[in-house]
Every structure is written in C-alpha cells, then in structure tokens.
Symmetry: C2
Subunit: 209 residues, 2 copies
C-alpha cells in the first residue's frame, strides 16, 4: 500500500487512525460486493480479503469473525443509503403533496432493488439457520428497520398521528421489500412501476386525509 | 422398506409405479424439510437422501441433479399449498364480502410465513448467484406466481375488469411476500396482524368499488 495515493494523500504518510479507517472501509465495500456477486456461500472471508487487497492478518484485526465483518458491512451500507436518500430528498426542494410522495416512493423502491437490499437479504437468509449470526443480526435488523421507517416518515412528510398513516408507511416498506424479492432473478421493473403507480394513489389518499 | 406398511398397503407388494411415486414424495418432502431446517448450503443431496431414507442410487435415478430435486420439491409444495388453500376456502362456505376477504387474506398470509415460503426463498436466493439453478427456476417462478395470482383472485372473488383491482391483488401478494421476509428471524405476527387489519380495510374499498 506504501506510496499509493487516495484523494492526493499518500496513504503511507496518513496517521495510523486514518489508515485503519480506510482499511475498514475497503473491507466493508468488498464484503458487500462479494455478497452481491457470489452470494452468502461464495463470500468467504478469504475471498473478501482478496477483493479488498487487505491481508488476512489486518482483516482479523479489524473483524475477528465473518459475522462481525458481514454485520458491519450491512450496517455501513444502510447508513450510506440513508444518507444518499436524504441528499436525494433535499434535491426535491419545495416539492410537496402527491408529486413529492411519488418521487420519494421511487427513491425508496430503488433502495429495495439495489446492492444494499441484495447483500442484506443474503445475510438475512443465511442467519435464519446460523444461530450465532442470527443472534447478532436481530438487534441490527430492528435498528435498521426503525431508521428506515423514520426516514420514510420524514421524506413523505407523513403525520403519524393521523389514523392509518403509520400502518400505511409500514405497508409501503413491506410492499417494497416484497417487490425487491420479486426482482431477484428477473428484471421486474415494468410490473413494479405499474403496481407502484396504483400504490401511490392509495397512499396519497391516506396521507392527505 | 420391505414389509413396511402405509395406509395398510404392504409397500413391497405395491406395483413398481406406486413405489416410485412414494420414493419421489419422500424425497420431495425431505428436500423441503432440509431446506427449512438447514438452509440452502446445508441441504445437500446426501443430507436429503439420508432424511428421506432413500439410497443415493434411487435418488439419482429420480432426480439426477440437486437443481432438479430442489425445483421439483418447490413445485410440489406449491401445488400442495394451493390445494390446501382451496380446501380452506371451501370451508368458508357462503361467507362473502368483507368477512370473506379478511379470512382469505389471513390464509394467504399464512402461506407466506410457512415452510413453502421459507424453502422457496432459500432456493430463490441461492439461484441468484447460481446460473444453472437460476435458468431452471425462472420459468417455475413465473408459473407459481401466475397460479398464486389466479388463486388469490378466485378466493377473493375479485373482478379484475374493475380498474385497480388487478393491481390491488398483486400488491397484496407482494406485501405478503415482504411480510414473509420480515418474519424470517423473529416472530413478526403482532405487527403483521395490525398491518393486515389496515390493509383489509383498504382492499375492501378497492374490491367493492
């Protein structure tokens, strides 16, 4: 790595803490890439270390177990995606009402067909039959779920004190998860677009009650 | 197997065709059980043959590849579940309107949290990164999807010529798939029941337009 540059900074001269952070980020990105490309069974720690260009020793130093690496990667990606969604939402400016809801729904739907969803689903399904991974994933699932719900409420400018609104936001996220699974093997975007158009009308009625 | 009895018939005396059918059914049931219990990576052909009490030779005779065995198992279970749903629906008798829709929705939701869903999801996710399995699964996914849609339309007594009804039935199935995934690691039934109660009201409005 000595002499390599990133953003014009010679990594070998960066402080230890900064180098650690970069190593971690490369491992987390490589983990998501390998989960998307090879699935759970193919995304072994060896394959991930190779992809990241990080030694096994350094990998074990930062993430002692496969579970710790994979969970950190899913959490990292969830945070990145939430930040992206907030940036995209800011770009909507003063857009309000039905137009805003439609655009937000498209943005959320994209999250459930992108790499975060695919990587997370690989880990979720593997965790079902892996007690150690499952125990570690359950609190993360709850945290990511809560944050996704809060983000959706914010972006949709939804008032959860109105009866039915909370359930409608939840149903939207569950629907999008189902549409994500339907998109795993084939491009389901035509059907998804038609279905979401109808859902947007439904949602608008509930949110504007 | 000699001398064992099933439904009072001595299997060793059953005709060859009947014995083949029984062997196949044991293999298919064992495949689903192993997928549910051990996940995709643990449900190897050896583990499945052991569970079924069938020799590797007999297994290879009926299902030459892991993909053929797993696909036959998912298709078999989908047919069984569809038949069960029709029997449960028949038991609803003359129940109509909102009451009927509510009960049908509960029955469909149970399908997306039961062993068929879990076994199918294991196969779906594995197929994403396994080209041979993926190629074989895509037509089966389309067939099972069409049949599930038709079944839902029948059971809900839905008129798809009414605008929005077709999309509402599709959204229902996609929502239930999303709820199935949300139920993988933890018992999500309390949240699911509350959410489905709200969706039943929505659906009733659309179906009775």
């Amino acid at each position: 790595m000595s002499g390599a540059t990133l953003d014009g900074v010679t990594i070998s001269r960066a402080p230890q803490q900064e180098r650690s952070r970069l190593t971690q980020q490369r491992l987390l990105s490589a983990t998501v890439e390998c989960l998307v490309e090879f699935g759970w069974s193919g995304a072994t720690t060896t394959v991930i270390a190779d992809r990241a260009g990080v030694s096994r020793g350094a990998q074990l130093h930062h993430y002692p177990t496969r579970a710790s690496l994979v969970l950190a990667a899913v959490e990292h990606l969830a945070e990145l995606r939430a930040a992206e969604l907030r940036v995209e939402a800011a770009a909507l400016g003063g857009l309000a009402g039905h137009d805003r809801h439609d655009r937000v729904l498209d943005m959320l739907a994209a999250s459930f067909t992108g790499p975060l969803f695919v990587a997370a689903l690989e880990v979720w399904v593997a965790a079902r039959t892996d007690p150690e991974l499952r125990a570690a994933l359950i609190p993360l699932e709850a945290k990511v779920g809560r944050e996704m719900h809060r983000l959706a409420v914010d972006l949709l400018d939804a008032d959860e004190s109105t009866p039915g609104v909370r359930e409608a936001v939840q149903a939207t996220l569950d629907l999008l998860r189902g549409l994500g699974v339907a998109n795993l093997l084939t491009d389901d975007s035509a059907r998804r677009t038609a279905l979401l158009a109808a859902w947007k009308d439904q949602l608008a009625t509930i949110l504007n009650r």
